[in-house]
């Protein structure tokens, strides 16, 4: 197939696309809808995955030391032992000055902060431990308790156990939401895919006369398919453009709205430290690529599949 033929095919495809603009607009919008469904579900699974990860990484263990009678040396020994436990990623010793500095940074009333100073510092020293997996925390606690339980304020260890239950619950909820999200998006995605298939088939049926004429005058099958493939590509590309714009607008408005209302702060909208709009922007390339691949596969495959019965010799 030479260059001239290819340019004719592209021109034909483009002309057909433009001539049936209402039908193709429908096909393109449906394609955009399909891609939106898939993008939103993709985005949702990103957000949930990242949220779960953030939550898990935020579960760490802090061991507080009962009073100033415990020597720094003893604490350092303990820290070394803790670091040898499997699953411990890092540990950090917080002395009294640092504890006070952290306290000073807390977003609480200055009147509460005011009485505390370096001379009057009741804040305990502590070791902050991060583990690769929250499940390892239990092992750490067990081994620390065995080693030197006298030095530890155990009430905090108990409160960790309570936290763990809450966190586990949260994680199991995110998992359920994720599964529900996948099922829903697969369902909506399927509906949208069937719609795209139908509308592309309608565009082909509406041009069955043209296909017939092309065959009578001796067009090769490749030449008949060509313009429809071009159209399929246009559906995919325009669908992607529409969807990307739609996602950007929706996430921008959602971010603005939630910020304006002051509600839901700390929810999934901002839980990752960035707002939804920024989040979408950060994942834009992945989203566009996923949409493009899906849109092109869907557009081209459905076109070729629907053409088959017209091209049988």
């Amino acid at each position: 197939m030479n260059q001239q033929t290819i340019s004719r095919i592209i021109r034909l495809g483009y002309t057909n696309f433009w001539r049936n603009r209402w039908l193709t607009l429908g096909a393109t919008l449906l394609m955009a809808l399909t891609l939106t469904m898939i993008s939103v579900s993709l985005l949702m699974s990103f957000v949930i995955r990242d949220t779960a990860q953030t939550i898990r990484s935020k579960i760490d263990l802090t061991i507080y030391f009962r009073d100033d009678t415990v020597t720094d040396q003893k604490i350092t020994d303990l820290e070394t032992r803790i670091n040898e436990i499997t699953g411990v990623v890092s540990s950090h010793f917080v002395n009294k000055q640092e504890a006070l500095a952290i306290f000073d940074r807390l977003p609480i009333n200055e009147d509460i902060k005011a009485p505390l100073s370096n001379d009057n510092n009741p804040l305990p020293r502590s070791i902050q431990i991060s583990t690769s997996n929250p499940d390892n925390i239990q092992t750490v606690i067990a081994s620390v308790e065995r080693a030197d339980s006298e030095a530890i304020i155990c009430s905090d260890c108990v409160s960790y156990a309570k936290n763990k239950a809450t966190v586990d619950q949260l994680l199991s909820i995110t998992r359920s939401v994720q599964i529900a999200g996948i099922i829903l998006s697969v369902l909506f995605g399927l509906i949208a895919v069937f719609n795209v298939m139908n509308i592309i088939r309608i565009t082909i049926i509406s041009r069955s006369d043209e296909i017939e004429i092309m065959r009578y005058v001796g067009a090769s099958n490749a030449f008949v398919r060509g313009p429809f493939v071009v159209e399929g590509v246009l559906y995919g590309v325009l669908g992607t453009v529409f969807t990307t714009l739609l996602l950007l607008i929706i996430s921008f408005l959602a971010t603005r709205f939630f910020h304006g209302a002051g509600a839901l702060s700390g929810s999934a909208i901002t839980i990752l430290g960035v707002n939804l709009f920024t989040y979408v922007l950060n994942h834009l390339l992945t989203l566009i690529l996923a949409q493009l691949v899906l849109g092109l596969v869907l557009g081209i495959f459905v076109s070729l599949f629907s053409l088959r019965r017209y091209l049988r010799a």
Partner: protein, 249 residues
């Protein structure tokens, strides 16, 4: 692509019709075509020589269109073999069929012009899909529109044409890649008598230039006027085959 079929050559195209030793161009050998629940044509044996003007006549539904569909390989026969220029159509591979069809021009009762294209574009389209160069397309299209006397209407759209002009545009499209065979399936079916004569006259002139013509019609006057070979069909069978014949039922 040209060796898919070697039908005639330039030299014998200009040979006078019906003289010398005619070459069999189309051969139907014991052809039967059955559709579910009905037999369209049965036991057809037919030889058409190069340069002939053959009218296939008979009432609607006797199998004229089926023969044409078989000949342009739109459908395979249920039984028997069709040879065109010595080549068995059953042996044509799927990707050869389009090139085979380029050797045959087909004209239909309902014209089958593309409504969104002008006359010129409709004719040129047949060349575009076959990969002709733009200069070739312009040259051939202009020439064939001149032949069918439609140069004046080249920029009109099909819905602006009269019935006769419609059919002449369709004939121009069928002729534009200089086919060896022109098949016309009820080309005058939708036309008034004046336009009918115009079309018949045009077909006659095309035949004079050496193109083999197969005309399917149920119009008695058309056949009687042409006075060439007439094949009469009845219920899917050939019942008579006369040279210089008339339409006799």
């Amino acid at each position: 692509m040209d060796d898919v079929l070697q039908i005639g050559s330039r030299s014998n195209r200009s040979q006078p019709v019906d003289t010398g030793t005619p070459q069999p161009l189309i051969q139907f050998k014991d052809i039967t075509k059955a559709y579910p629940g009905r037999i369209a044509v049965k036991d057809i044996d037919l030889t058409i020589n190069e340069g002939e003007f053959v009218s296939i006549v008979g009432q609607s539904g006797v199998g004229k269109t089926t023969l044409i569909k078989l000949l342009i390989k739109l459908e395979p026969p249920s039984k028997g073999e069709i040879y065109v220029a010595g080549r068995n159509l059953a042996d044509l591979r799927d990707n050869e069929v389009p090139f085979y069809r380029r050797k045959i021009g087909v004209v239909f009762q309902d014209f089958k012009l593309l409504p969104q294209k002008t006359v010129w574009e409709n004719v040129a389209f047949a060349l575009e899909v076959c990969g002709y160069s733009q200069t070739d397309i312009i040259k051939r299209t202009d020439k064939v529109l001149d032949l069918v006397n439609l140069s004046r209407r080249r920029d009109s759209y099909p819905n602006e044409l009269s019935g006769g002009e419609h059919q002449r545009a369709a004939i121009a499209r069928a002729l534009v890649h200089s086919p060896k065979i022109l098949i016309a399936d009820e080309p005058t079916g939708n036309l008034d008598p004046v336009n009918t004569w115009e079309i018949v006259d045009l077909l006659y002139r095309i035949n004079q230039k050496g193109t083999t013509i197969i005309l399917a019609t149920h119009n008695r006057q058309v056949v009687d006027r042409i006075q060439r070979r007439v094949i009469l069909m009845k219920s899917g069978k050939i019942v008579s085959d006369q040279r210089g014949g008339k339409y006799v039922i």
